[in-house]
């Protein structure tokens, strides 16, 4: 060191440097801790009074005119997906729903039931035929089903276990991989 260092203020400066380093280090540790403990965006689940309880009845007429009753699907995991054709995140999550449905189509251990949220039947029919929706889509004219499930705005999805209880509620777009994880977690808990 050939630099002329002013001996008087060296100790204080050095301490300042250390303090600043300690403060920054603390902030960074907290930051990394927060990031490390964040669940994946796709795994984030919402609170709902329905969790762990029997799913509200979901009986209705599908877009193709057939009758749908979710209680007849006992023995399978059912993803009840509230959607609308005007909702952009619903369009975004659609490929993931397709992937999820296709994965489980062969084994038959899980299925999707779509529920129309505040939308016209004509645009839903077009959506179903355009996008190749392979699961039943139930119309919900008075919004009664959405009310029973406490849905505020689409997309919201509920995973119902084999015994007909609500396992989890997902607000926002779903991902096929995350749904599979939820199912295997539920299976691990013996549901």
């Amino acid at each position: 060191m050939t630099s002329p260092i002013d001996a008087r203020d060296l100790p204080t400066r050095r301490r300042t440097g250390v303090w600043v380093a300690v403060v920054i280090a603390t902030v960074m540790v907290a930051f990394v801790a927060v990031l490390a403990t964040r669940p994946s965006a796709a795994d984030r689940q919402a609170e709902s009074p329905l969790l762990g309880r029997p799913a509200p009845a979901l009986i209705g007429t599908a877009v193709d005119g057939s009758k749908v009753d979710v209680s007849s699907l006992r023995g399978k995991f059912v993803l009840v997906n509230f959607f609308a054709t005007w909702c952009v995140p619903c369009l975004q999550e659609h490929p993931e729903l397709v992937r999820f449905a296709q994965r489980h189509q062969a084994s038959g251990d899980a299925t999707v039931v779509g529920v129309v949220f505040n939308d016209s039947m004509s645009s839903v029919r077009k959506y179903v035929s355009d996008k190749g929706v392979i699961w039943p889509v139930v119309s919900d004219p008075g919004g009664n089903i959405a009310f029973d499930y406490g849905v505020r705005g689409p997309p919201e999805s509920f995973l119902i276990d084999r015994a007909g209880n609500v396992v989890s509620k997902i607000i926002g777009t779903v991902r096929a991989d995350a749904l599979d994880r939820l199912i295997s977690q539920a299976k691990a808990r013996g549901l």
């Binding site: 060296l10 050095r14 380093a21 964040r38 397709v98 777009t173």
Partner: protein, 655 residues
């Protein structure tokens, strides 16, 4: 075949990196030149491994080797050659491979560049640092992000192809590689910063060594970001080019800190000040690139560009933590040696302006970082799900941007140390007239609104200052007046002015509307006339596209389209743009006529985006300016070797 070759290459790269670390580590410890020189040869092995792995991946993609999971997920027999090739970086594992390839390229160039200085511990430590980074990325590929994993079960006969958005524009071939050249390029200055801190050689010598490396990385990052904006404009169909999306921000935050560094390093070179700050900026820039990698690849944030989830998140976060920890410990340890020999004499001086510039860039970076991670922080604290959008970023960064534009006009006119009022008024009179002229012209042209006019005025001011500087130096030195750091920097400034002005114009004066039109029907928006002619359906090898033919302003016919790829349920809109100096007419096909219902009307989205061409030109000019700035200018004097440099070590070093 590819799997064996590729996996072998990945392991080879990992082993060579680790051997490099160990050999150089021992060499440094024992001061053994032979070991140091043996260690650096591993760089070539790493490069060979990366090339082999890349070759194996490309071969597998081109030969549709669906035994590889990556190819089965991202390749398809019907995808055109170009997009099959770019398939290498269209998903997570391949993008890590591209990262490793670029890094090994930089590593070998660095080793070759400093081949005469093998014995220098500074170079040794820097090489070691780069080996650590490369070991990490090869390690990711050898472990959780293995691009050469085989499919489980039967080999599929065909795959879905890359994400549809990544196979309809040739920019996909340029944007990611350039962005990575930028991102990864910061590894070299980072390595030298670490090396300088470890060896205690905190003089200015290493800054000069890495100046050009930083400039190149910065230039590539700039071009990568601008091309990304262009790609998003041409492909995504929403008519915008920047959405403050987490992934965009992840590239923009290191750009901001690097920009701050490129400026403040000059203060250090000239005056020996701001050393802790400069080192921190370099360390922060590199850490932020890794943080960006974490945010985009771990799935913690919702984003249109985020890669599908994977398990590499915790590893990258751990690496980020390691880098930050090493940086903080090193700086804390060396803080006493980093004291500045001088102080800033007057705020109205070049160094004062650079300091202000740095505070602003740091604030800018902080605002963007905060907005990006805020949803995560808020959720951690009280469980709320919040999304932070464009309004926050625009409102918060706007004033910072304006102040930076203002500084950009003033700073080139300020002398080092202290400015007198007289000198300033003499130097600023020309730029001030240019600002006034611009505003007068805009007002005459009927443009209104405080914010855009302020942006134009400041643009005129800063542009005037840059042009004045260039004219003066060109008059003095001829063509050489356009190269070198200061002059190249002024050209970059002109590019920034164009970008800023275009940004302001497109935010203030864009018009958009959707029209439902029958064939032959016309509509008008902001002085542009569009006529819908008809729709055509075209069956191509890898997609079906329905395009609407639209005549714009009675001239050429444009064809915005909806494209449907097999395996993808959603139709992808591909916009068609009439580009002009004044504005772009951006057409999208929102909904096509439906043959089954006999409906003949089409919904055409029309967006008039002013001055978009200026934005791309500005980006290009920034690239050109960076290149000119890296060109050796007229050396006025030797780089300063301030008092803190240990003289005895340097004597043997400088060639």
């Amino acid at each position: 075949m590819s799997a064996v070759l590729g996996s072998g290459a990945v392991v080879l790269g990992l082993v060579a990196s680790l051997l490099g670390i160990v050999t150089i580590g021992f060499g440094l410890r024992r001061r053994d030149t032979r070991l140091l020189s043996a260690g650096r040869t591993y760089a070539w092995v790493v490069l060979a491994a990366a090339l082999m792995a890349t070759g194996a991946m490309e071969l597998a993609l081109l030969r549709h080797d669906f035994t590889l999971k990556y190819v089965a997920d991202n390749g398809s027999r019907s995808t055109p050659l170009l997009f099959t090739t770019t398939g290498m970086w269209s998903a997570l594992e391949g993008s890590i491979l591209l990262w490793a390839l670029v890094l090994s390229g930089y590593l070998t160039v660095m080793v070759r560049h400093f081949r005469d200085r093998v014995a220098d511990p500074l170079v040794g430590w820097a090489t070691l640092t780069v080996f650590v980074v490369s070991a990490f990325f090869f390690g990711l590929m050898a472990g959780p992000a293995n691009p050469f994993r085989l499919v489980s079960g039967a080999t599929p006969s065909d795959g879905p192809g890359p994400n549809p958005l990544l196979q309809n524009h040739p920019l996909v071939a340029f944007h990611p590689p350039l962005l990575y050249l930028g991102y990864v390029g910061f590894t070299i200055p980072f390595a030298f910063a670490v090396a300088a801190l470890v060896t205690g050689r905190l003089g200015e010598g290493w800054l000069v060594e890495t100046r050009r490396w930083t400039l190149f990385a910065w230039g590539f990052l700039t071009l990568g970001i601008v091309l990304g904006a262009w790609w998003s404009y041409e492909v995504l169909g929403w008519g915008g080019y920047w959405a403050w999306d987490p992934v965009e921000n992840a590239s923009f935050i290191p750009w901001l800190t690097a920009t701050a560094y490129v400026h403040s390093v000059m203060v250090q070179e000239r005056r020996g000040m701001l050393r802790i700050w400069n080192l921190s900026l370099l360390l922060a820039t590199f850490s932020l690139t890794i943080l960006g990698t974490f945010l985009t690849r771990s799935g913690v944030l919702d984003s249109v560009h985020a890669f599908t989830e994977s398990t590499i998140g915790p590893l990258i976060l751990g690496f980020f933590g390691l880098i930050v920890a090493v940086s903080i410990v090193l700086i804390g340890w060396r803080a006493d040696r980093l004291r500045s020999p001088g102080t800033i004499d007057s705020p109205a001086s070049r160094e004062g302006a650079f300091l202000a510039n740095n505070v602003l860039f740091a604030a800018f970076a902080f605002i963007v970082l905060l907005g990006t991670v805020f949803p995560l922080l808020a959720e951690a604290i009280n469980g709320d799900r919040i999304s932070v959008g464009g309004p926050y970023f625009n409102r918060m960064t706007g004033p910072v941007g304006f102040t930076l534009l203002f500084l950009m006009a003033i700073a080139p006119a300020l002398p080092w140390r202290k400015a007198s009022g007289e000198l300033l008024s003499k130097r600023l009179i020309w730029p001030a007239w240019s600002a006034a002229g611009v505003v007068a012209l805009c007002a005459l042209a009927g443009l209104r609104g405080f914010v855009p006019l302020l942006a134009f005025a400041l643009g005129g001011f800063a542009g005037g200052a840059a042009v004045r500087q260039l004219v003066l130096s060109a008059r003095r030195q001829g063509w050489r007046g356009l190269v070198g750091r200061a002059n190249g920097g002024m050209i970059v400034h002109l590019g920034v002015v164009l970008v800023a002005v275009a940004f302001a114009a497109s935010h203030a004066y864009a018009h958009s509307k959707e029209f439902t039109l029958r064939p032959g029907q016309s509509a008008e928006l902001a002085g542009h006339h569009v006529t819908y002619l008809d729709t055509r359906t075209e069956q191509q090898r890898n997609k079906t596209s329905i395009s609407a033919r639209v005549r714009v302003d009675g001239g050429k016919v444009y064809a915005p389209a909806l494209q449907r790829f097999p395996f993808a349920t959603q139709a992808i809109g591909s916009p068609s743009v009439k580009t002009g100096w004044r504005d772009d007419v951006y057409l999208t096909l929102v909904s096509a006529p439906d043959a089954t219902t006999g409906e003949t009307t089409a919904v055409i989205g029309v967006l008039i985006q002013p001055m978009m061409m200026w934005l791309w030109l500005g980006g290009g000019l920034m690239g050109v300016g960076t290149f000119l700035a890296a060109w050796p200018g007229r050396r006025r004097r030797l780089p300063t070797a301030p008092a803190s440099e240990p003289v005895q070590e340097l004597a043997g070093v400088r060639s």
